[in-house]
Point group: C2
Chain length 237, copies 2
């Protein structure tokens, strides 16, 4: 098997670094294809942990391959896995409309899992969530979440018609500081693109603004999501 | 004046992009040295705005210089400014112990200003806050804040002996979700390095953990700071 540097249309992707690789093995061992370890890597505990998965996938010391795949990053372990599909559970969701930055998406997945929301919908166009940059920023949290693309927001709504929809947007008049989240329904927290946010069509849902000083234009997207997750989980256990 | 790509020991730095450049001009026009505009840039409103500062600094169309300074970034306006020193006000502070990532520092400065905390202490070693990468991630918020280095945390404490110190750390037993912030004193919200956090010595202050699922190791630093700022400002107006 000749492993190429990542492209969206490949059937596999890879984890850069020990932490994401172990999360991949623990949560998706059936999809694991191979683990490469750098010959200078001497952490026995982690090598033993990886070796426990030798039944599911090959483990190989291969510096050349690590250097090729990790490019500029300083990295000693790389895990190759078959991309898989997941379905969203009927539970609370994070919905990202047209996310465009891979690091941001990874950070959001990490926060989301941190506040026990394991289901993330991405409305297209949006970045490729299996890109190694997303996986790395997620610190491997991606392997404990269900992530699913939808062509339009309407398609998402059709699939989950009973969800209570909250849209986070600067145009809203209702502040997160004063909102009471619905306690008895599954909720969807919806966020727009990094530059353009959500358009006025989303005002018809329960819209929310995170009140902030006029000295800044907006908070950055992963920070907004993190704050919203925090407040949501304070109210909804 | 021959402008070089940024290095820490240069007496100047620069803003990449219109938004940070305008923030620099508005808040630090005395330190502005030059603004370069790309010949393909046609936004008259912004060009007019920049031209209002012609008394303070030269404005020049210079594609070569923009390409040189912006490197890979897609950018049409660059502002050169003289680095300046600032002093922290006797007000609430964010304190970052050994921050190591430029993008994170910029994002934290942006959130901090968003929640009206304009004073940021950095305990050395820490990244260079005048690096163009920090300025860009801050979206220019850096020019509305006071940022100051301290050699040690003890030096910081000596300078602000009456501040109520809150240290955010995974080792704490007191959750942000239940804490009552001091209402009648200036507060310092203290955060550790991205990888190593704060060591146990910081437990002697009022320590706080942002409760999160065990599925993740920790929240990312800018997300933790954003959540803490949000809760702090909910309580302390």
């Amino acid at each position: 098997m000749d492993i190429k540097t990542y492209k969206k249309d490949l059937f596999y992707s890879y984890t850069l670094g020990t932490f994401p690789t172990i999360e991949m093995l623990k949560n998706h061992s059936n999809d694991a294809l191979k683990v490469y370890i750098h010959s200078s890597f001497k952490n026995k505990e982690i090598i033993n942990l990886i070796n426990q998965f030798r039944n599911q996938c090959e483990v190989e010391f291969n510096d050349k391959m690590i250097n090729k795949l990790s490019q500029k990053e300083n990295c000693f372990v790389v895990g190759i896995f078959r991309k898989y599909q997941s379905k969203l559970d009927n539970d609370h969701h994070i919905v990202l409309v047209n996310p465009s930055n891979m690091g941001n998406l990874g950070t959001i997945i990490r926060s989301s899992l941190g506040f026990n929301i394991k289901n993330i919908a991405i409305i297209k166009p949006g970045v490729d969530y299996f890109d190694p940059k997303v996986i790395r920023a997620s610190m491997g949290a991606i392997f404990s979440c269900n992530i699913c693309y939808f062509s339009t927001f309407e398609e998402y709504i059709k699939a989950f018609p009973n969800h209570q929809i909250y849209t986070f947007m600067l145009q809203s008049k209702h502040t997160l500081q004063t909102i009471n989240f619905e306690q008895n329904k599954n909720c969807s927290l919806v966020f727009g693109n990094e530059s353009s946010g959500l358009d006025d069509n989303f005002l018809k849902y329960d819209s929310i603004i995170i009140e902030h000083s006029k000295k800044i234009d907006s908070l950055n997207l992963p920070s907004s999501v993190a704050i919203s997750l925090y407040e949501f989980r304070k109210q909804v256990k």
